[in-house]
């Protein structure tokens, strides 16, 4: 599904190289986690994959089902099936959550040559998905993320994911700012979306999110590279001993 090969990237305005050769493959149906210390390039990986301005890819490739992601605009990547759940979902006053969700869903359908959903069809779909995610219908009427609690913002991200039905979901520190109950709710939402034709890349500092979203593969990232890859046990090892041991081991 997602193939990242020798990806190098730097900030556009500075000469500082952040990604120094990330290589990673996430097959359909699997959940991969990326863990790593602050500044290792985890969030940058998610931004470069989703096409955020301000980064320059200097080497390497990233493809989604064979399509070159790096050549596409962010909205084209979304239509191709990529979804980034933000660490800090953005507040957009004055734009209703419902308007936003419908605009996004229909823009993607249009880009894929599918029929757009009518307001009625969409409302029905949103209500159904919101219910399974325990999202209050009132929240849908409010402007995008405005006045939402940390937990509500993250649940809104998962609701978007459920509506847009992406193939490849990248979750950027979805656990940050969440209490245990909120984290469980978000994890339940993600788990409900797991399917053989969908893959996940879960970026996190801590192992605890991975208690709720069981990964198939865990990657450790340091200094802009994947330095170690293993099974779920690798996350437990990090939790127990910190990153220092692993970093020392890989030099």
């Amino acid at each position: 599904m997602l193939k990242i090969n020798n990806l190098h990237a730097k900030l556009e305005d500075e000469d500082k190289q952040i990604l120094k050769g990330v290589t990673l493959e996430v097959p359909a149906g699997e959940v991969h986690a990326i863990m790593g210390p602050n500044g290792s390039g985890k969030s940058t990986t998610s931004y470069v994959l989703s096409g955020r301005d301000g980064y320059e890819v200097t080497e390497g490739s990233a493809t989604l089902n064979g399509q070159d992601l790096l050549e596409m605009e962010p909205e084209e990547r979304a239509a191709a099936g990529l979804f980034l759940a933000f660490q800090y979902p953005v507040e957009i006053p004055g734009v209703g959550n419902m308007t936003f969700l419908r605009t996004a869903a229909n823009a993607q359908r249009k880009a894929r040559g599918e029929d757009e959903l009518s307001a009625g069809e969409f409302l029905k779909l949103v209500r159904e998905k919101a219910k399974t995610l325990n999202i209050d219908a009132e929240m849908l009427k409010r402007p995008v993320n405005v006045g939402f609690s940390g937990g509500e913002k993250k649940r809104n991200e998962i609701l978007q994911m459920a509506l847009l039905e992406p193939k490849m979901c990248v979750l950027d520190e979805t656990d940050s700012g969440l209490d245990v109950d909120a984290m469980r709710l978000v994890a339940d939402g993600v788990n409900a979306l797991r399917s053989p034709d969908r893959a996940f890349l879960v970026i996190t500092h801590y192992q605890r999110l991975l208690d709720h979203i069981q990964p198939d593969v865990v990657h450790i990232m340091a200094d802009g590279r994947i330095v170690k890859t293993g099974g779920p046990d690798l996350a437990l090892e990090v939790e127990k001993n910190g990153y220092a041991d692993i970093l020392a081991e890989v030099g």
């Binding site: 990547r77 979304a78 953005v90 004055g94 734009v95 936003f100 880009a111 402007p143």
Partner: protein, 435 residues
């Protein structure tokens, strides 16, 4: 005075004389004395000049020409007309003259509606005591020459006296019939105690226009005024609204402005009774690509009573060299305790060529008041733009959504939801065309 300064003054006096000579004064009835007084005041104050404190950001000289440059009539409008899908009393003005055939019957339960040009000669008309009065009062402390000019020469307008709560809004529509029309209108809106009215004003204004609306709200009255006049391109326009707000009355004014070479909107509001409310708001969109754009909102709110609430909410979206100006003042007179005054003026600059000039002013002579202002100039938030795009929203649409988000606070000043939606649609259509 230097020789050069003497010459400049002489040239200005000349310009005033030429302008006044070019005017045709209407046949006046009950407005005769007010018109003569306004003309005398205008002669005394002269036409404005960039030297004047409140004209530093907007060069008034294009307004001062004896006659406007003809502007070809618009062939078609890209937008469907506003507010048409509801029951309204429609008053149509063509080049500033009332068109009875195109208008509704003037009868409206709870209101008395007359047309200035028709009512002028009637004896004992209520409007006789009001015409030009609020405009004249609004000349202190800041002179407003174009408003005085309007009072002197306005050819027509509506006179609305509301005693009840009419079931439908009054909708004034402007149309053009000639390329060179120098259009002026003067409306008087008087709401008796406890009366309520929604007043809509839309349509295409002339090559040069000058509109003044005097609003007199008795205790407990409520006026919602929503203006969305179309300037089209190349036009010059001045408008002034002068409101006197008595105890427990509420005045809500919202203006939508798009396009126009040189537009100056003045709003002068005075609280004369306690516990009253006045909100003046505007959404302004300018794109220099389709012609020069300069839009100036100049607001003066005087708190002359206790516990009144005033809000100024002005939002401007500017691109391709468009210029926006906001001059907003809150004056709190001695004794106007517990005043709650607030103003916010914000500009969203869509490129590096556009410009916003803001001058917020507070002048406070009472010690127990709450007054604040904010003014910001910024670009579209790149993080939010990326957020929308990452969900599949194309960049051009994402920008439109971000601009609508920016304008939301101003639009929220329109209380009626369906009117608000109409305006939002118009904004959306303009923004999409100018994306």
């Amino acid at each position: 005075m230097s020789e050069a300064a003497v010459k400049t003054r002489a040239a200005e006096a000349d310009a005033l004389t030429q302008r006044l000579d070019a005017l045709t004064l209407p046949e006046a009835g009950f407005t005769a004395a007010a018109r003569a007084d306004a003309l005398a005041r205008l002669r005394a104050m002269g036409l404005p000049h960039p030297r004047d404190e409140y004209w530093r950001f907007t060069d008034p000289r294009p307004f001062n020409a004896p006659l406007p440059q003809p502007i070809p009539l618009e062939e078609t409008s890209p937008d469907s007309p506003l507010f048409t899908d509801r029951d309204r009393l429609v008053l149509v003005f063509v080049d500033g003259r009332f068109d009875a055939a195109a208008s509704s019957d003037l009868a409206l339960d709870g209101a008395e509606i007359d047309i200035l040009s028709q009512a002028e000669t009637r004896a004992d008309h209520w409007a006789g005591a009001l015409y030009g009065k609020l405009e004249a009062a609004g000349q202190t402390p800041v002179p407003r020459p174009f408003a005085a000019l309007n009072t002197a020469v306005a050819a027509d307008g509506v006179l609305i006296r509301v005693t009840g709560k009419p079931a439908k809004p009054v909708h004034i529509i402007h149309r053009r019939a000639s390329a060179e029309a120098d259009v002026s209108w003067h409306h008087l809106i008087r709401l008796e105690p406890g009366a309520e009215l929604t007043l809509l004003e839309t349509g295409m204004v002339g090559a040069r226009s000058n509109g003044v609306t005097e609003v007199d709200l008795a205790p407990g009255a409520r006026l919602n005024r929503i203006a969305a006049k179309r300037a089209g391109h190349q036009k010059l326009g001045f408008s002034g609204i002068f409101a006197r707000v008595d105890a427990e009355a509420a005045f809500k004014n919202f203006e939508l402005s798009v396009n126009g070479t040189l537009m100056r909107h003045e709003a002068v509001v005075e609280f004369v009774g306690d516990d009253a409310v006045a909100h003046v708001a505007a959404a302004v969109l300018g794109d220099g690509r389709t012609g020069p754009f300069h839009h100036d909102d100049t607001v003066f709110v005087t708190h002359g009573a206790e516990r009144c609430e005033s809000r100024q909410v002005f939002k401007k979206v500017l691109k391709n060299g468009a210029v926006g100006v906001f001059q907003g003042k809150i004056l709190v007179k001695p004794g106007a305790q517990k005043t709650d005054g607030y103003q916010i003026s914000q500009a969203l600059l869509l490129d590096d060529d556009s410009q916003f000039l803001g001058k917020p002013e507070l002048e406070i002579y009472a010690d127990d008041v709450q007054c604040s202002h904010g003014s910001t100039t910024g670009a579209i938030d790149e993080t939010a733009l990326f957020y929308l795009r990452s969900r599949g929203v194309p960049k051009s649409r994402a920008i439109v959504l971000m601009i609508l988000s920016f304008l939301a606070d101003a639009l929220a000043e329109v209380e009626d939801e369906s009117l608000r939606e109409d305006i939002a649609e118009r904004l959306d259509a303009w923004l999409t065309r100018h994306a």
